[in-house]
């Protein structure tokens, strides 16, 4: 098996426990990137977030209890970082959430393949709470218990958020009453049409309404 120079660098010569920790961090980077991508919806923002998480994790490594779930610990740090970054951004500039959601990831920043873009876009319409619960349990393979620890809420709360998120996604994707009668767009127009549908679904700027909205 070929070991990349970077990996060899981290796996060699450190016998003080930090080396092991770093090796484990290294192995979990792909999952940090995936979780970050699903939270931010953008590649660049996600990698910045994942890197901030690594630094934070390294600085707080003494608080990690060996033998516990490092992945869940890292995801908790990443999630905290995500919300605190965003709060800071909100303080610095008034943020038009609706307008932000209308901005398609341009060019190279296109996150998901065209085939998946409708699900990816529909995810952005969910509330943060529903989105993170659904990603952790539905995509990341976390137990409800671990997801609850990461999101700092009760297990039952995670369960109901996941259930509501699934329901909401279907309604968004498959046409709630709002979409009945909207014809399936022709191939090339799919993305544009979905964005238009989401715009129609999104209530006028009134804060955190995404997931609480119950179409009919």
């Amino acid at each position: 098996m070929v070991v990349s120079p970077a990996r060899a660098h981290f796996e060699s010569g450190k016998n003080d426990g930090d080396g092991d920790f770093k090796t484990e961090l290294l192995a979990l980077i792909p999952f940090l990137r995936a979780f970050a991508r699903s939270l931010t919806g953008s590649q660049e923002g996600a990698d910045d977030l994942a890197q901030e998480t690594l630094v934070k994790a390294w600085q707080s490594r003494s608080t990690f209890i060996p033998g516990t779930n490092l992945k869940a610990w890292l995801f908790t740090i990443l999630r905290n970082q995500f919300y605190s970054d965003r709060r800071r951004a909100w303080r610095q500039a008034p943020w038009d959430q609706e307008a932000a959601e209308r901005i398609p990831g341009g060019g190279e920043d296109q996150i998901f393949s065209a085939q998946l873009s409708d699900t990816a876009r529909a995810l952005r319409v969910l509330s943060d709470e529903q989105r993170e619960a659904l990603i952790l349990v539905g995509a990341g393979g976390f137990s409800y218990e671990d997801a609850a620890a990461i999101c700092k809420c009760a297990v039952g709360t995670v369960k109901s958020r996941v259930a509501r998120a699934r329901k909401a996604l279907i309604e968004i994707l498959d046409g709630s009453d709002t979409l009945v009668g909207v014809e399936r767009p022709a191939e090339g127009d799919a993305a544009r049409e979905i964005m238009a549908q989401l715009d129609r679904l999104a209530p006028p700027a009134s804060g955190d309404v995404g997931g609480k909205r119950r179409p009919k």
Binding site: S4, A6, H9, F10, D16, G17, D18, K22, L25, L26, I29, P30, F31, R33, A34, F35, R37, S38, A46, D47, A50, Q51, L54, V55, W58, F112, S113, L116, T119, A120, L123, L134, I135, G138, A139, G140, R166, L169, I170, L173, D174, V180
Partner: protein, 61 residues
């Protein structure tokens, strides 16, 4: 129209759709997780390492 569908068919269709959406979510996540880790990350870890080595009173446990 679709409003006339029988409840059974409808719930079966919903379950099928749930599974399909679940697969798409996992694929989106796995696609990212399977990307090669960008060099930035390696550089970052290397910098952490170097900073550690450079620290005079480095604790050895």
């Amino acid at each position: 129209m679709s409003n006339e569908e029988k409840p059974n068919e409808k719930s079966r269709a919903i379950r099928a759709r749930q599974r399909a959406i679940g697969r798409e979510l996992r694929r989106m996540y796995d696609d990212v997780a399977q990307e090669p880790v960008p060099d930035d990350f390696m550089d970052l870890l290397r910098r952490i390492d170097d900073a550690e080595d450079a620290r005079p009173g480095k604790k050895v446990s």
